[in-house]
Every structure is written in structure tokens, then in C-alpha cells.
Symmetry: C2
Subunit: 341 residues, 2 copies
DNA sequence: ATGAAAGCGCTAACAC
DNA sequence: GTGTTAGCGCTTTCAT
């Protein structure tokens, strides 16, 4: 275990000088610095995580997600990870199970106790007390997906997004539209699905219609299963579906095909998210950019930590997203994107 | 920021006693302990990450992956995360880009410098020098996927797995079989795809045949694209395909369907991994259990850290996996699993 | 420009 | 049983 001590001794300087030489803080003679740096290199020394302890820092960024193995979250994580490389910060990952007490434990015990210098909450509805807690510790927080009061959040306006998806179908002449997605009960941590449901209902109400809603877990197999039951009986089959996520939409699409329904001729489906498979399946969907949210969020928290963008009022600005309409069921044809603020 | 100091003062004891009371180590009067504990609770104190510093520990487990947003890796991560909950350990995640210097930086600067107490390498071929480095620091390492000399690794025998998949097709009477997968060049960090290729070649050679090989990135869209070019021309179309991963297999399957080919009547496809969509697509595949690998790996490293299973010779035992043969292209029908050691 | 010393928040020997 | 002391590996005043 090579410690600063060893580097200092090899370079024949004190620990203090070695520290300055390596960190770049404070005065140190050019010649001395070179000696220290080559000693460090020769010994294979690299600065440990404890180095920020005296400054009360951990060099660690906490990321909280409700799920790891879902496309959207995976993209966000990759975006974060890439942005973090060569920042000197580590990414520590917390998956919040749906268990409430478990959630409390993670939030309070880990995030809050100087185990992380900042937190990025992805698809998590932080409670006011959680936000207060972090704020009282001066821990920068930025959210991704949804909207949490008082914290800068990256993501689309989910209500508007679902409304646009719905309006698209209404404009196509559809009247019997159902929303297959999640709500507050199936995705208790995440605010976005309930908002998408609201957007759907709002758009339908505005058109003077009453939309149906079916709850489904957010996976392709679940979408498929729901599709089979929903679409098999043509007395209750809708002419169009707004899916709560692309996974559901793809599942529904597969179910429709399995039942021999022509999409979009006999059934129109629109999803939300921009899943990598959307184009492959010819899925009309509202695309956002989770990977960019990740890197932008990192930039934000790092800036705050560096003291630059400190406490500018956390204003929420929905990220741009656009509806990618695909008419054929399998011939990838981009664009005709409609901007969503 | 509530420190142990505050708890101690509130409970009217010394920091040492407070520490003992909270950690459970060493003698402390029951009555005193209660006082400390309630003081801690009242103040909202929780032990910080620095608590293990004096013992030279970080309470952190490093996990290295080549990709985050792929089904297999996501499953492993979820398995690890779940196993870690309430262990007191944090999971810090490193995604190794394919850039070699970047990889060196991560391996040396982060993993090795007491930033983590142990590491789990998922689908990463550690070099001997990397293993030596970690070993010299007494950092426990366990691998998942593939096989690294000197480190206990969880996963199937990929050579055998691919051979079994190939043999299955041979037994079905196929002679013109192609392998669509990755090799050392497309997935430089991961040993497993090259091994699967070897298993395929070996099985073909044993049957006195020469199998064709096509390189493809490991995603559904890429599998789809390769499928279109490979299957469109029926002069060069094989009768069966061994895919290097389920993503590729599913992509191929979709391409085949798009081209109007009946699967498995006109084209047999077998995948490897047990992707959640395999059943949905009626894909015959060799299933392993990435989530369990994750939790088992955690159990292993924690045991080593706790000193129990210390330095027992790291022997590699392939995990069980079995070939799930599905005959229909869309009717989920389990079973007829063949064990693979 | 450099070194000595104090201290980040905690644990562990060692005394009492 | 409990307090005192030293020290984990580093950064940072404060002298010099």
C-alpha cells in the first residue's frame, strides 16, 4: 500500500509538499514538483478516496434509481458514468426498492451521511422532507424524470407528452383510445407515469371523450400479456392505444401482430421514451434523451460542487422531446417530429 | 452535520463509548448503550463512510462492467444491489469503456487505491497484472462471466454452452450453420464471446463440418440488420444459426419473420443467456442466471472480507445452465432443459 | 518555497 | 465499563 508518506520520502520532501505538488494547490518549486510527481509515478501512487476527508468531501456521487435493468434507466446511468470519467468522482448506485422502510434507510443512512457529495435522483419522487434533509446538508441534488419541488430536474413534461401522444391519435380520427400504463400504485416512487395518465385523461376530456385506463407493469412481456387480453375480444378492442412507456407499447405491438391485427391500420399505438427498439418495430413514439439527461445532470452537480453555479433558483424547464411518427409497421422511417417543450 | 462527537456529548459519554455502543464492539453497559442509541436516533445520526477508515476499509464494493444497459449486465447489477442492501456496503460502479488507456486509469486509479474493499468484475477479462495488483493489495476479487486465471468466477462454461447449442442444431439434422456473434475484436474486454465462438467451431469440427462466422455487435437492432443481409439471399442462407447472445438471436428472429421465413421450420435459431424476451419470442436458448451470479458474488466477497472463506484456492466451477428448447415460434413452452455443467 | 502540527470523523489499544 | 490516546491518509493553516 503506497501512501503519500512513501512518495514524500522517496522525493525527499514532507508530506505537505508532496500533497501540494500532486494536488496543484499552493506554492511548490517546479523542480520539486517534478521530483514528487515522478516519485509518485514510479511508486504507482494515486490519490485515495480519503483525500477529500479534511475538506469534508467524499469524491462520490450518489445516484438513486427505482430500477436498474430498464432501458431508460440504463441509458441515464451510462450517460452519468461517461460524464463522470476523469472527473475524479465515483458513482455509487442505490436501487430503491418499493419497500418504504428500505427507502427511508437508503435515503437517510447513505445519501445523507457524507457518503456522497451530491445526488442525482432518477425517476424518483423525493419527498419534501428528503429534499429538506439534503438541502440542510448542502448536498446538491438534481433530478431526472418527473418534477420535484425545489430541485432542478431534467426531463420532459410528462403531462404534455402524453397529451401530445393522445392528440396525435385523436387527430387521426380515433375515438376509442385506451391508456395502458402505470399509476401511483404500481410505480409508487416515480411521479412520471401518473403524470402521463393525467396528460392522457386531459387530452381525452378536452376532446369530450372518456379514455379507458389499464394498469400494467412496465415491461415488454407485461405489455404483451395485457395486449393479448385487451385486443383478443373485438367487442372491447380500442382502435388506438397510448402506452405509458415504450416497453409496454412494444409488448402491445407484438400482441397485436400475434393476433393478426394490422398495425397501424387496425390498431394505432404510440409510446413514450424513444426506446432503442422503437424504430425496429416501427413504433410511433415520443423520444427524449435519457443519456443526455445523465451527462447534463452530472455537469450540473459538479458545477454546483465547484461553487460556480451555486444556488441559482432551481427552475424546472422541460427538456425537448419530439413525437416520431412512423406509419409503416416495420420500415424504419424517421422524423416528422413534433417538438414538445 | 451530526458527528459522533455530538451523540457522545448528548449521551454524556466519550466518543469511544459512543462508538462501542453503536457498533456493538467492546463492552458497554446496557443502560449506557440505550442512552447512546436514543441520543443517536434523536439527533438523526448514522455512521458515515469514513467509519472504517481506521481499519483501512471503505465500506465500498467496486463493480466493473463493460456495459450498463444490456440485459445480462443489468440483471447482474440488480442481483448485486439486492444482495448488498443492509450489508452496510455501498456499490460503486465503473463502466470500462473500450478505450485501453481509460481502462488502465480506472483499474489502477480507482479500484486499486483503497477506494473499494473488494471488486466484482462482470464480463471483464482481467489481465494478470491487474489480478496481481489487486492480490497484492489483498483486495478480494470475484468475476462473473468468462474465466480469469486465479480469480473465482461465476458463470457458465461458454465453450461448452456454445457447443451444446450447436450440437442441438446438428442433432436436428442441420449442416449449414452459421454463428453470428462477437469476437475478441468487437468485445475486447470480454472473454466470453470468443469462447462461444470456439465452442461453436469445436462442435462443428467434431461433426466434420466447417461453420461460418459473422461478426455482429450485441444488440437486437444489430442482430436484425445482420439477419436481413444474411437471410435475404437464399443462395447463402444457412438453415440454422447459433447466436452469440440472445439479443442477436432475437434480432435475427425478427429479421427472419420480416423476410417471411418460418422459424423454426425454415430456419432454426438458438441463443445464449436467457434474456427475458426469449420466451416471448419462442426463442430456443441456453439459460443462465445472471441475477444469482450477482448475489452469489456478493456473498463470496463479503465472506472473504469477513475473514471466513479467506484464501481458499480460487477454483472455477461452471454454474449450471440449461438449454430451453422451444419449438413453436410464439407459444411459450418451457422445459426439456439439458443441463450444462 | 517548505515543514511542523492540527485535524477531518472515526476505531482500537491501552489504561484506569 | 469507560475514558484517554494514538492514528487511518490526507489537506491545510501557520510558521519559518
Amino acid at each position: 500500500m503506497i501512501a503519500l508518506h512513501d512518495v514524500a520520502r522517496t522525493a525527499e520532501v514532507s508530506k505537505a509538499t508532496a500533497s501540494r505538488a500532486l494536488s496543484g494547490h499552493g506554492y511548490v518549486a517546479a523542480e520539486t514538483r517534478d521530483r514528487v510527481i515522478s516519485a509518485a509515478a514510479a511508486l504507482g501512487y494515486v490519490v485515495p478516496g480519503t483525500s477529500a476527508l479534511p475538506r469534508g468531501r467524499t469524491s462520490t456521487l450518489g445516484v438513486v434509481v427505482p430500477h436498474i435493468n430498464r432501458w431508460y434507466f440504463g441509458e441515464v446511468l451510462e450517460g452519468i458514468e461517461h460524464a463522470l470519467v476523469s472527473s475524479g468522482y465515483d458513482l455509487t448506485l442505490y436501487e430503491l426498492s418499493s419497500d418504504a422502510s428500505e427507502r427511508r434507510r437508503v435515503m437517510e443512512n447513505f445519501l445523507v451521511r457524507r457518503r456522497v457529495d451530491a445526488v442525482i435522483a432518477v425517476g424518483i419522487e423525493l419527498t419534501v422532507s428528503e429534499v429538506d434533509l439534503l438541502r440542510s446538508l448542502a448536498t446538491p441534488v438534481v433530478g431526472i424524470g418527473g418534477h420535484v419541488d425545489g430541485v432542478t430536474t431534467l426531463g420532459i413534461d410528462d403531462v404534455a407528452a402524453a397529451a401530445i401522444a393522445t392528440d396525435h391519435l385523436l387527430a387521426l380520427g380515433h375515438r376509442d383510445i385506451v391508456h395502458v400504463g402505470a399509476d401511483h400504485y404500481t410505480e409508487p416512487d416515480s411521479p412520471v407515469y401518473a403524470q402521463r395518465l393525467r396528460g392522457f385523461r386531459r387530452a381525452m376530456a378536452t376532446a369530450g371523450l372518456e379514455g379507458r385506463f389499464r394498469v400494467s407493469p412496465l415491461s415488454i412481456p407485461d405489455g404483451f400479456a395485457h395486449g393479448l387480453t385487451l385486443l383478443a375480444d373485438d367487442t372491447q378492442r380500442p382502435t388506438a392505444i397510448v402506452a405509458g412507456s415504450d416497453e409496454i407499447a412494444i409488448g402491445l405491438l407484438l400482441a397485436a401482430r400475434q393476433l393478426g391485427l394490422a398495425v397501424p391500420a387496425e390498431l394505432s399505438i404510440v409510446g413514450i421514451d424513444g426506446h432503442q427498439l422503437a424504430e425496429l418495430f416501427g413504433l410511433t413514439t415520443l423520444e427524449q434523451h435519457p443519456r443526455q439527461y445523465g451527462s447534463s445532470a452530472v455537469a450540473l452537480v459538479l458545477a454546483t460542487l465547484a461553487g460556480s453555479a451555486s444556488e441559482t433558483a432551481p427552475t424546472w424547464q422541460p427538456s425537448p422531446a419530439h413525437l416520431v411518427v412512423r406509419s409503416s409497421t416495420s420500415a424504419p422511417a424517421h422524423d416528422s417530429g413534433r417538438e414538445v417543450v
